[in-house]
């Protein structure tokens, strides 16, 4: 009897440490965060948060009141994040897929090139992004040196880290960081394609582009479905890239949602409204993920 009990209990005992950690660092803070979003949690209550007065839906009302400054800037940041995400996910997938397809056949130096392509993924974010911010400096950076001094493409040296150009700079760095992951995943996906498939297609007279379009791309679809979702969540939540690239204050053109919430929380020390914005962000991500999973699984069902 005792032995049976311990056999049933054992898997739970093994899971216990993982469960406790997940509870402590993820689930409890999430619940606390939701509670906080209904409170008037300003700097006076940081050390004594249970005494903060309730705000009802006040924080949410403020966040989505798009006629007032707070709501307006949140909405702006949301749109910036959306366009950033679409660009980064799209370009990362495109570059990753092209590189994966073109490196399918072995050639001299392929291993070395592959290792080089993985470098952006391996480098610590802050070291890599700080290098980019040096390259984007107006007077001493590499980008203006090439564009202005060598190619004479611009009449004046543009600013890259303030103003409207900061959006392109941010997208460039983010794509640089995330395409290797797409490349990695898609390369793995390509390995499942049997070579006979290509041989048969070539025998039937299919050219290289037809082979890619008819064989390679369709067989990448299942991998891409997961990959796009992962890239979407990463890009939408990206904090590190803008934070290191721009320092404490991101320019409005590159005001991603995570950094927006961070700044409005720690500048005003109003954690209540920051939490409300975080909860709204989570709701949006859950909704987007659900819609995406629903759409892709239905599509998959229709294909079968």
């Amino acid at each position: 009897m005792r032995q049976r009990l311990s056999r049933i209990g054992l898997p739970y005992l093994l899971l216990l440490p993982a469960l406790v950690m997940e509870l402590l660092i993820h689930l409890v803070p999430m619940v606390v965060g939701i509670v906080m979003s209904f409170k008037q949690l300003t700097q006076f209550f940081i050390r004594n948060w249970s005494e903060a007065p309730w705000a009802g839906l006040g924080n949410y009302r403020m966040a989505v009141d798009f006629n007032a400054p707070v709501g307006q800037s949140l909405l702006h940041s949301f749109w910036v994040t959306c366009s950033f995400t679409v660009l980064v996910v799209g370009l990362s997938w495109l570059i990753g897929a092209s590189a994966a397809i073109m490196m399918q056949d072995s050639f001299r130096g392929r291993g070395l090139l592959r290792a080089a392509f993985l470098l952006p993924y391996a480098l610590p974010v802050y070291a890599a992004v700080i290098t980019w911010s040096f390259m984007f400096q107006r007077d001493t950076g590499l980008v203006n040196h090439i564009l202005h001094d060598q190619l004479h493409l611009t009449s004046d040296k543009p600013f890259w880290l303030i103003g409207d150009n900061s959006f392109s700079a941010l997208v460039t760095v983010a794509v640089w960081r995330s395409w290797p992951f797409a490349f990695l995943t898609l390369t793995a996906g390509l390995q499942n394609i049997p070579r006979e498939l290509y041989e048969a297609a070539a025998m039937d007279g299919a050219g290289i582009w037809q082979q890619i379009r008819r064989i390679t791309l369709p067989s990448l679809r299942p991998v891409s479905q997961v990959l796009v979702l992962v890239l979407f969540l990463w890009s939408f939540n990206d904090f590190n890239t803008p934070y290191v690239l721009f320092g404490k204050s991101a320019p409005p053109a590159a005001d991603l949602i995570s950094i927006h919430i961070y700044q409005s929380s720690f500048v005003t020390w109003n954690f209540g409204s920051g939490s409300a914005m975080s909860v709204l962000l989570l709701l949006f991500l859950m909704l987007a993920t659900a819609v995406y999973l629903f759409a892709t699984s239905r599509r998959r069902g229709a294909d079968d």
């Binding site: 898997p11 950690m21 490196m103 392509f117 890599a128 640089w176 590190n240 962000l281």
Partner: protein
């Protein structure tokens, strides 16, 4: 692909060349600028240093307490890695070898925490750490221990997932034979499963270390002067008026070496583990 025509081969060459340049330019900038005297990085950009100097590599340790940040990062990332790997091994063993109620719920819940935005935990965790410190005297806010606790959970979901895949690929007969021979379940784990899954465990450890070594958001809020990690410390080379870019580049290179070396050495295992899930 069969008999690619010359046009495809040329497209391929040019595309891969451009991509290699795009990928490697920052690394080359980092390397060349870390060997420049200060005046080289204060004027227009140049590829080749006017005089080759290793001064930045000496100065980085004096301009900011980089040594202390380095030690802090090592303690935090090392601690988080060890804890995360041990916890992940136990959990993955349970999920891989036992059928129990809540098995699916557990995996789905743990994996879905991966999708939550870090900013969502940051504010409450900050409040919790501060308040726990005030009421019990356990210093979590501003301590390396608090950061280790936080970081180990960041790599945990993915580590468990990767290890379940590895453990599943080890034939069950092996550990069942060990059980018959009188090993307990833990004995079977330690003597059979862990030795057989070493590549997977190493990959998970590298992943956990990289995650903790590179984290910025929590490090910027949860540390103070004595516990500051590299992620935040590297910004110290910028003063009000000047940025010592040559030193920034030297420091960036120095802090990248441990993780990049580990990654490139263990690339094969890590890549297999990272992509296994997506392909499944």
């Amino acid at each position: 692909m069969i008999n690619p025509p010359a046009s495809f081969r040329w497209t391929r060459r040019i595309f891969l060349l451009v991509l290699a340049v795009f990928t490697l330019v920052p690394v080359l900038v980092m390397l060349s600028s870390s060997l420049k005297p200060l005046q080289d990085v204060q004027g227009p950009f140049r590829w080749i240093p006017s005089t080759l100097t290793f001064r930045p590599y000496v100065d980085i340790w004096k301009t900011v307490p980089l040594g202390r940040y380095f030690v802090n990062s090592l303690i935090v990332a090392g601690g988080a890695t060890v804890c995360s790997v041990v916890i992940a091994i136990l959990a993955a063993y349970a999920v891989s070898r036992y059928r129990f109620k809540g098995r699916r719920v557990f995996t789905v819940t743990v994996l879905s925490t991966q999708m939550f935005p870090g900013i969502l935990f940051l504010l409450p965790l900050f409040i919790i750490f501060v308040n726990v410190g005030d009421s019990t005297g356990i210093a979590l806010y501003g301590s390396r221990g608090g950061l280790i606790l936080t970081y180990l959970t960041f790599s945990l979901p993915f580590s468990i997932w990767m290890l379940v895949g590895y453990f599943d690929s080890i034939p069950r007969d092996l550990d069942e034979a060990a059980l018959v021979d009188g090993c307990g379940p833990i004995g079977a784990l330690v003597r059979i499963i862990i030795p057989a899954a070493i590549p997977g465990i190493v990959a998970v450890a590298v992943y956990a270390f990289m995650t903790a070594w590179g984290e910025v958001l929590f490090a910027s809020v949860m540390t103070n002067d004595t516990t500051r990690t590299l992620a935040v410390g590297l910004q110290g080379y910028a003063t009000q008026t000047d940025v010592y870019w040559n030193q920034v580049m030297a420091a960036s290179l120095v802090v990248s070496v441990p993780v990049v070396a580990g990654f490139l050495l263990l690339q094969r295992y890590l890549v297999a583990g990272l992509t296994a899930g997506a392909v499944k």
